[in-house]
Assembly symmetry: D2
Homo-oligomer: 288 residues x 4
């Protein structure tokens, strides 16, 4: 933090802020107003300060900055990001959930209730801290759910879906830890609005994303795989009919470290700076 | 098959039949009536022959044997297994789903509709056949859903839950392939019957399984992990409140190769033969 | 340690001591002389106290106990173990290296010089401590050598081989960390004594181990695999001709947590107590 | 092959030939003489046709092309590659072995005898064919040696080292299969020439590679890790003193699919075409 205080930003236009949750509020307050900032922490993601305090267990120390911050789910908020000074970069789970759901809820195709989100994440989502829970021997060859219904990404997801629905949405969200380093899948179980069919969902997603570089609706029947995103900024989405009439299954996959973190941060910075949006992001997935 | 025909069964009381789906119908027809048989294939699991033909794409060649077969989910059908000559050993997914759900549906605690089952399986469930899809390079460090809504275990699950509900149950079932050899988790999202609470579900499961050797309701709040079952015949279950009022999340884990296959087969044989039920099954999980 | 001090050992015949290296010297000094002890730490493995001090960087605090301790490589030192009060349980690498080499060196079939040992270990060998180096993300999908020529198991290996050779042996030993939880392979490159052939090595190993429960010489040409030992107390060994005339390649595999640790400890205890040596150890390897 | 016959190469300057071993000899014979070709198969790697026939079990069908082919270990043979029409792209193991050893043998620093090569490879080296041996369940959580002393890369390694030594070199080469998709390490045990020290080896490698983009001698004491090369065209090398006087341990790591295959192929093509050598190859390693 001393380093930040003494840093000379006179020749700097923009910065990424990659510090632990809870620590960037103070630091960003101290940065020159001329700097454009993409904050990768969770500090400025929740518009409602009381939600922040409930889920993160501490008072927010920069509420005025929170008012200014733009939630940077690039494809959804590109216009706001363009003119933002401070962008709160979305969490990985919220990115994988909102990209498919926001357009469908906005278009009233999916009911904004009883949304069941079963997410699966590689272990890098937990960071590089030396925790017993993340040792190779604890993770390899096994899976488990963690933070059942209580994961901190819940309010972020509900904020985005509530905005889309124009009403308060409460979701069922269960994250699972996978024996892999990178990759994230959200399998989302939804009720269709009356009269709506699977092809309507596909049509809406096609419309929403056909001009996007990084969000791709797969051809009918093709299952998204995390392998197809590893090391890349892509989000792949598809929609499937459920056996239960009136329901659909939506699957989205991302690399949690790229579209779910640093890649989307760079995408946001490109938008803020007026650079071509894919600058530095055209890596292809690495497989195997 | 020649080997089977020429085999001398005069000193044999019981056999396991571990042949591919579709091949055991003929073979079992040819075996002596005095033999007790546990069939690990799917050939005799579905009581409704027309369901078998729909999901397996071929006519059933031993419908009279099908009538005699007992579906061997041991804890649920122990009495029928005791006197059975032919036991159809359950599939791995159906075992992980029915053990927690059958008692709860029978007791009218969980609504028999809109049941969402998100299952995750180690790759050994696919057998040892040399398929590109199951190469190390295809599986390691990635996940995907397969057979979305169309997996052959669907009718087996629906048969068991319909029996419990005494009405036709249709489920949403999505299996996912995990980068691990063994282990299976079903995360099950249900609607509670009116007035029912989480503690009622836990109480019912406690009652149902407190005298069982292999099915264990974990203490409140403890998340089942596949690691805790690896190499063992255990099924661990727990129930969690959902964020959405009136809903619950049920998690069960098994080793798909043991309680989901050979272990349950031996358990059934022990019951059929009058041996202590845990004979040969008291292996502890191997971790790490 | 208080717990140990206050413990009542009046009804106890024998104990395993499973404490970190460096801590058991004091503790064992304080235990009743009537207790039989198998110490799983490295504290009593090196007969030469000055070697201990050089490799472990501290003075030995129980040199008189060190004199009494028997190095418990069961198959090699069974007679001494039988009458021992304190057994120092061997390290995992030394077990995998000495079991094949000691009989061959004793019989003058392999030259006691230029012995090259390239060992590969699963990460559980490093314990369960929360170290960044052992996180899933650091270990999965990659390998590296560690402690090149400086691993603490070097003096233990050299002590055993020097005993066998009746002269000071210096080895080249390079351990490698594998992306797996359990399992250990030592690939050992040796020079044959003049006139010796591969079949002579196989013949000697057959003689040495044909009556053993846990050490197995595989049939000619069969490659030992760590999978064949996982979860079991077995050590599998084989010998192969090298392309370079006059040389051989010896491969041994164990489960580092069983024959390389707790399994051999129990084997030693069985010998000390006069129990059948395989009591509690007849687990079969778990595969996959 | 029909496709190749009917193809129109009039606007094509160069091609990669990525066909199975044994099939490219005929195909390349049929291609226009104006085409520059990098062949990724083993068909043209061995100058001595009789060696090819011994190790691959079939007569060579294009011996005249073999005479023309240049062995494309880029850093070692850059000048020949520049003017080559047909480049035989090296195998993965030979690349990892020759890059460190060729300069050291040429400079008479390492003795060209008793060279022990213990190599470890990710399973992608075996290709994507549907073989039981490469299923996830066969590979995960276990290791083994394969092709002990008989791997087809032996003659390729010996050819390169014999050229460097100006005398026939016979090596001990043992490949091991690792539970990982990509990555290769060769741990090489050598005898130093009289009077030579570790620093002389480091000095020679520094001289040989300091101007190279893709071959890097690490700082003293730093252990090369396959993680540092994954998805990149780098080869990292280091040299360590052995405990046995007069010996050294050399470690090199590559990504077997990049510097060990397609990356080096592109590097060769760049040289043949006069493009900057790193064109298309500046990917950074993907970690984790």
């Amino acid at each position: 933090m001393v380093a930040v205080k003494d840093a000379d930003f006179s020749d700097v236009d923009a910065v990424f802020c990659c510090l632990p949750h809870g620590t960037t509020q103070e630091i960003i307050k101290g940065l020159p107003k001329s700097l454009k900032i993409v904050d990768l922490s969770a500090d400025f993601r929740l518009r409602d300060i009381s939600e922040y305090e409930e889920w993160y267990g501490q008072a927010h120390r920069a509420p005025e900055l929170q008012k200014e911050a733009v939630y940077g789910l690039t494809e959804i908020s590109r216009e706001e990001v363009k003119s933002a000074r401070l962008v709160a970069n979305p969490g990985c789970y919220p990115t994988s959930v909102q990209l498919p759901l926001v357009p469908l809820i906005k278009a009233n195709l999916v009911q904004p209730k009883n949304i069941i989100i079963d997410s699966k994440s590689g272990v890098s989502g937990a960071g590089r801290g030396a925790k017993e829970a993340n040792l190779y021997t604890e993770i390899a060859e096994g899976i488990y759910s963690y933070g059942v219904t209580r994961h901190r990404h819940v309010p972020e997801i509900e904020q985005g879906l509530s905005d889309a629905a124009n009403s308060k949405v409460t979701v069922s969200f269960t994250p699972h830890l996978m024996p892999m380093s990178r990759g994230m899948q959200s399998t989302i179980y939804v009720e269709l609005a009356p009269g709506v069919e699977i092809k309507d969902l596909r049509q809406q997603l096609k419309l929403s994303y056909e001009d996007e570089d990084f969000v791709v609706l797969l051809d009918e029947g093709i299952v998204p795989r995390t392998h197809n995103t590893r090391g890349s900024n892509y989000c792949f989405i598809n929609v499937f009919p459920d056996r239960i009439p009136g329901r659909a299954i939506i699957i989205s996959v991302i690399d949690n470290l790229v579209k779910g973190a640093s890649g989307q941060a760079l995408q946001n910075l490109n938008v803020m700076m007026g650079f071509p949006e894919s600058t530095g992001l055209l890596y292809q997935p690495l497989f195997p």
